[in-house]
Amino acid sequence: MSTLAGPAQLDVRNIWWLLAAFAFVVAPHLLRLPYWIAIFFGVVIGWRAWISWSALRAPPRWLMWGLTIAATIGTYLTYGRIFGREGWSTLLIIMSALKLLESRDQRDIVVCVYLGFFLVMLNFLFSQTIPLGIYMLVCVWVFVGVLVGFNHVGRAPTMSERLKPAGELLVQALPLMVAFFILFPRAQGPLWALPRDTRAGQTGLSETMTPGNIANLIKSDALAFRVTFPDGLPPYQSLYWRGPVMPNFDGATWSMPQHLAQGRFNYPRRERPTRYSVTLEPHQKTWLFALDVPGELPPRSNILSDQTIRTYRPIEQRMRYDMMSYLRYQYGHDTSTYQRDLNLRFDETRNPRTVALGRQWARENPDPRAIVTKASRLLSSGFTYTLEPPLLDRLHPYDDFLFNSKQGFCEHYSGSFALLMRAAGIPARVVTGYQGGEVNPLNNELIVRQADAHAWTEIWIAAEGWVRIDPTAAVSPLRVEGGVNAALGPIGVIPSLIAADGLGLLANLRFAWQFVNSHWDAWVVGYNMDRQRQFFSQLGFPTVDWRTLGFWLLVATFVLGSIVSLGLLVRDRPPRREASLTAWNRFCAKLARAGLARAPHEGPLDFLARVQAARPQMAAEVEEITRRYIEARYGGGASRDDLRELRRRVKEFRPA
């Protein structure tokens, strides 16, 4: 017997659980945000714990206001503004910490727990990986446990009394979650504009190329995009993923033009069409990557005269598009004189030795093929391929590179090669993008990372149009044939372990992880309107609109809800002792109708004796039922069969 006093919800242990849950959910944010927020949060949590431990009073209102204003100003000073993803998360963390600090009653606590769910959501704005998802699931579990604790009125429950019911609730909610996730109609695009920096801090190619900036990219293992080839992988050497094309040159930096005319698919030669679909990571830019040369356009994009594909809006979400390219092609034969002139410009005052060399080659033999051969012969003698080239002269970087350091990377080679061509009177430009990739043997998907970033050149030859020349291939053929790892050896610690492992366990684990991640990205993170349609058309429903989805949503809710309810009811069925009592009561009721009512004080045996005396003709059957009832209810426990037999006998019993 226990009677518990009225609500004592703000028990110390309950508060500490809440604080722990907050620390869990905020931890990933703190790693991202400036250090003063971590300190602020730690102090507030510690203060709140101390308040509940020593039963102190909550801080006065003026202090709370002071802290709020100070934190807001601090946020403003840190970011220069309040709005934006970082600003919001900082403010939300600070405000929930302060709410925690001033919480006095159960209403405050409930507000804090709900704020905790928002903090979980906030984490997803930054990352939606599997590990973070699992971590956040644990956070939600703890928060639900906190709610259970606060509703376990009268006594602070133990850890299992919190986490078990919370876990049970979440597990039972999982089927509903899956059904809703699949069936909830997805909309196209955001309801309102995203703040500009929502996906800030991503790495990728930029609008300019200066010796050195791709080398930094190459050190990044981050994913750029993934490609599946339904008809099999084309030759590795043809995997040139065309990105920004840079004809503008100031002596050191190559850059994209501000405006370009609309392009056409005007190819005198188009062979080896190859189909593939690309899953592109958001890179905040408008270009899409395609193999040279693109043969069709994804929706909501267009092609420019340099054969690059642009979307209308920056790519802020993972995007999947289907493409077709011609791997054997000719294009640009009709390039205008004006365009060709643009690709011949350079600053006469810079890199004089390079310019002089180019002009000398042109004088010796104006045939472009001969000039290209001379250039590749130059680059293949005494040059080394390295990610850590020495710093170059700021005014004449390509002179310094070609005649002095002779160590460089694809951007050095392509940049100096293009300059040599221009000096020799051949229109030339730099093309950036990615080259190669890594094939996941589990699903034959090509994984292209930032480390595969590459720069090459295109020169214009009268009879052929624009021709791709990769000067890096002259220096380091492995780079083009085997990817960057083959050319350089592995970068970083983990890749070197994997490289040492060959195709052993670690590599397999890595591929398996890639495989899981790729499906997670495609079907969970990337589950948008298109994916939803695709899913239902694979199921045989090619046209589903939101009404159909809503209808099935209701059906699924009803069915799954019923299953959960039934599960709970079955579990709550009274034990078999009770079931035997039901049968016995029915038996007594039958006898009562026959004029032999059992007196309330009469035990089964006394009643049996009386019935046997009164109606000897049914003594045996009554005795059997009574014996079975006593055995089931007071004996060692009846099996399911015993109970069934008792019920059957009672059912067939006819008092005579």
Partner: protein, 317 residues
């Protein structure tokens, strides 16, 4: 507004409620369930989470929103089943003196799983909570302070729960017609009952009482444990009861007319004090109220009878 609405709905459903015979099992149709204020607030939270997920195309945000929504739905079932099939019986309700705290007790029993944070409250009173485990019943003791003389009815009791998440309020009403008799508050300043009311026979006849030790007699069922001669039992002389004798000073009449005070309650308080005092002194006493006379006697049953008469006494109109 919401509370009012709920109140009027429940009033409408329970328009005519009749007291029930125990035990009452809270079957399905007796249990009502509605979201609490926190539940509505949670629904609003879910809405905001959903809108953010749509706006930012956060698949994991959708997953979070749907997980929490599903959890809220499941929580409704859990709240309901926390109350369903609970078996309720009235517990003991001891009489009290006016001004003391009354304890109405409900005994709750579960035929199946443990019930957590089951609450009971009388209309307008704060709730009391208990966990109900198998097999023994848990007591929900509702205290009511400052009782006034007479019969205090417990009235309808709301048995409810919000466990596990506090999003839903599942409740049911039971009315066992529980009542507690509230005796008048004894007036400690009342002094001794007036002597003139003693009868003429003044000679002391020893009557069984508890003042002077008289003899040992064999134990009879019902003898209070404090009178058992434990030492004799230890000497293996069997169960013996110590008998004391009190000097009965004949019959004492406690008369309403002798209790001098300004109002009825004060007079009853004086009489109450006299009843308690006389019983303590082992006297045989009778009670005379306008329209009611209790013959002199003594003992627990007699005392209770007198106190009940005082408690329930209504001034003739």
């Amino acid at each position: 507004m919401f509370a009012n609405l709920r109140h009027s709905i429940s009033e409408w459903i329970f328009r005519a409620h009749v007291p029930e015979a125990p035990p009452v099992t809270l079957v399905q149709r007796r249990i009502f369930i509605l979201p609490t204020k926190h539940g509505w607030f949670f629904a609003f939270t879910l809405l905001v989470l959903l809108v953010s997920s749509i706006n930012y195309s956060l698949s994991l945000g959708f997953l979070l929103t749907f997980l929490l929504a599903g959890m809220a739905g499941v929580a409704m079932l859990h709240t309901w089943r926390n109350l369903a099939h609970l078996k309720l019986r009235p517990g003991r309700c001891d009489p009290v003196f006016a001004g003391e705290e009354v304890h109405f007790t409900l005994l709750a029993e579960t035929p199946s799983q443990t019930r957590i944070a089951i609450a009971a409250r009388r209309t307008g009173q704060p709730p009391v909570y208990a966990d109900v485990r198998q097999p023994e019943p848990a007591a929900l003791v509702m205290a009511a302070g400052g009782a006034r003389r007479g019969l205090l009815k417990c009235g309808r009791v709301e048995v409810f729960t919000r466990y596990p998440l506090g999003f839903f309020h599942a409740w049911s009403y039971v009315d066992f017609d529980l009542s507690v008799i509230v005796y008048p508050k004894p007036d400690h300043a009342a002094g001794a009952p007036p002597q003139h009311s003693r009868s003429e026979s003044e000679e002391g006849i020893p009557v069984p009482g508890d003042e002077d030790f008289n003899m040992l007699r064999s134990y009879r069922p019902g003898d209070p444990p404090k009178l058992i001669a434990w030492k004799a039992l230890a000497r293996e002389q069997g169960l013996l009861t110590k008998e004391f004798s009190a000097t009965a000073s004949a019959e004492l009449w406690l008369d309403f007319a002798d209790a001098h005070a300004t109002d009825l309650e004060s007079r009853l308080s004086i009489l109450c004090q006299w009843v308690l005092q006389s019983e303590r002194f082992g006297q045989s006493y009778g009670l005379r109220l306008p329209g009611l006379t209790i013959r002199p006697a003594r003992g627990e049953a007699h005392r209770t009878r007198c106190l009940e008469a005082l408690a329930l006494y209504q001034a003739p109109a």
